[in-house]
């Protein structure tokens, strides 16, 4: 019984090691990229198109729409980052229906890595949008006294992102593993279905929160909505 897929190590050389998390992540990346490549291979620009292309278009335009609903003016600029967050986490959750699969998002290292990415991306997008000085001034608002609290807020929400996703994903696999030892039949399936649902919800929450943070960092220049 182990808490994290990081603990299963296939190969190690010094501090460099190949554990289940990294390998599974590569697998998921391969699946995503190959699927995208295959499904967009015969893309059409006319009204008639294949079902798979329709599905991909629904996913991409859906993500786009969600981003713009959060308040980001040019969703296509953030689509690569936020869309990849959602698709990666959602795919990682979706594969929990495969027996013996450990989602990489069930590892605190992966969720931390994703949270760090958000932690870095937020100021980057903010600076890109409104300039370094203007972005840094946001930390001094409403008064200078708020500076430490703003910094704490940045750090704590990154930690919250990482731990929330990890806790949800890890608990899902843990509960199924525990239930399998007690009631090997119906309950694990029901919990598995529930796990799928929570996985999707977590993917949505993670990417929407990232979008909200980015929107907060880039919103300063935009006129307040009436």
């Amino acid at each position: 019984m182990h808490l994290s897929p990081d603990e299963i190590i296939f190969w190690q050389y010094g501090f460099i090691k190949l554990n289940v998390t990294i390998v599974t992540t590569w697998g998921l990346m391969g699946v995503l990229v190959i699927a995208a490549k295959l499904l967009t291979r015969e893309r059409s620009t006319v009204l008639e198109r294949s079902r798979w292309q329709n599905l991909l278009e629904i996913i991409v335009t859906g993500i786009n729409q969600q981003i713009s609903e959060v308040g980001l003016q040019q969703p296509q600029k953030y689509l690569g980052f936020l869309g990849s967050l959602f698709l990666f986490i959602a795919t990682a959750s979706l594969f929990t229906i495969v027996p013996g699969y450990d989602p990489p998002t069930g590892s605190l290292s992966t969720t931390t890595a994703l949270a760090i990415c958000v932690f870095v991306a937020v100021p980057l997008f903010g600076i890109q949008d409104q300039g370094l000085a203007s972005y840094l001034k946001e930390y001094l608002k409403p008064t200078v006294i708020m500076l430490p609290f703003n910094i704490i807020s940045e750090l704590s929400r990154t930690l919250a992102l990482a731990v929330r996703l990890f806790g949800n994903m890890m608990s899902g696999t843990m509960i199924i593993a525990i239930l399998l030892t007690i009631t090997p039949f119906i309950f694990p399936i029901a919990l598995s279905v529930l796990g799928l649902l929570t996985g999707m919800v977590q993917a949505y929450i993670f990417s929407i929160l990232a979008a909200v943070y980015i929107a907060a960092a880039t919103r300063a220049r935009q006129p307040a909505p009436e």
């Binding site: 808490l3 994290s4 990081d6 501090f15 460099i16 090691k17 554990n19 998390t21 990294i22 992540t25 590569w26 990346m29 995503l32 990229v33 995208a36 490549k37 967009t40 893309r43 059409s44 620009t45 006319v46 009204l47 198109r49 292309q53 991909l56 278009e57 991409v60 335009t61 296509q76 689509l79 690569g80 980052f81 869309g83 990849s84 698709l87 990666f88 990489p104 590892s107 605190l108 290292s109 992966t110 931390t112 890595a113 994703l114 760090i116 990415c117 990890f166």
Partner: protein
């Protein structure tokens, strides 16, 4: 330790690679396809809009043309109706005129026919009457009547008016041949002498006479010379009567024709 920092770093790199790969293979092609489709749709919509406007214009043009055609048709129709009415009235007038003419002609020909029938009838009656008269008078004629005729002739000869007497005298005197005296029956020598004497006395000259029998006179006597004739005979009377009867239809036909035209 739950966090393996090498794994964290590796996952960050993995995620960044994934972002790049998905951008490259998923978002860009899909968004490009969507953009291209939207452009096509926009172009199609613009095209449709242009076509709609064009169709609207065409429709307006056609409706205007239709309207003008309708107006022209109505104008032509009314003109044709008016012309047809005029033509109808003209034809009716013509037909009426024609029928009037025909009726007039028919009436005229009827009149002519009636007239000629009347004439023929009159002629027939006249001929019959004359024939009966001739026959009756011929049956009655005999020498005693002839004698009375000669007497009347002799009595009337001197009673001739002056102009007639002069004209006859002139004709008798210029005549080289003897004057012809015709009678229905043979005259006795006495009668011949009496006539010779009366003629000589009347014209105060010696007039040679030649006597001839002419049964066509029926009864009576006639003195003819050089185109002049003095006659007193029943044939002469009948001839006068015939002439008078022949003249009668001419004087009557004029009022009859006027009556036919009024009808």
């Amino acid at each position: 330790m739950l966090i393996d920092w090498f794994t964290v770093a590796a996952q960050v790199v993995n995620f960044l690679i994934l972002v790049w790969l998905l951008k490259r293979f998923l978002y860009r092609p899909i968004l490009n396809a969507i953009d291209a489709r939207e452009q096509r749709i926009a172009a199609a919509l613009t095209d449709a809009e242009a076509k709609k406007i064009e169709a609207e214009q065409e429709r307006t043009t056609f409706s205007q043309k239709n309207q003008s055609l309708d107006q022209a048709r109505a104008a032509l129709m009314s003109q044709a109706t008016a012309e047809a009415n005029t033509e109808r009235l003209r034809l009716l007038d013509e037909a009426r005129q024609e029928s009037t003419n025909l009726r007039a002609r028919l009436q005229e020909s009827l009149n002519i026919e009636q007239h000629s029938l009347n004439e023929a009838l009159a002629r027939r009656v006249l001929d019959e009457v004359l024939a009966i008269a001739r026959k009756a008078l011929g049956d009655l004629a005999e020498t005693t009547l002839e004698e009375r005729m000669v007497e009347v002739f002799l009595r009337r000869l001197p009673a001739l008016d002056r102009q007639a007497k002069e004209t006859l005298a002139k004709a008798l005197k210029t005549q080289s041949d003897p004057a012809l005296v015709r009678s229905a029956f043979a005259l006795s020598n006495e009668q011949c002498r009496a006539i010779q004497t009366a003629v000589n006395e009347t014209f105060s000259a010696e007039i040679p006479l030649r006597f001839e029998i002419a049964p066509a006179l029926i009864s009576g006597i006639e003195l003819a010379t050089n185109g002049q004739k003095l006659a007193w005979s029943i044939a002469d009377y009948l001839g006068s009567l015939e002439n008078a009867i022949n003249d009668l239809p001419k004087t009557q036909s004029e009022p009859e024709t006027r009556q036919g035209a009024d009808a």
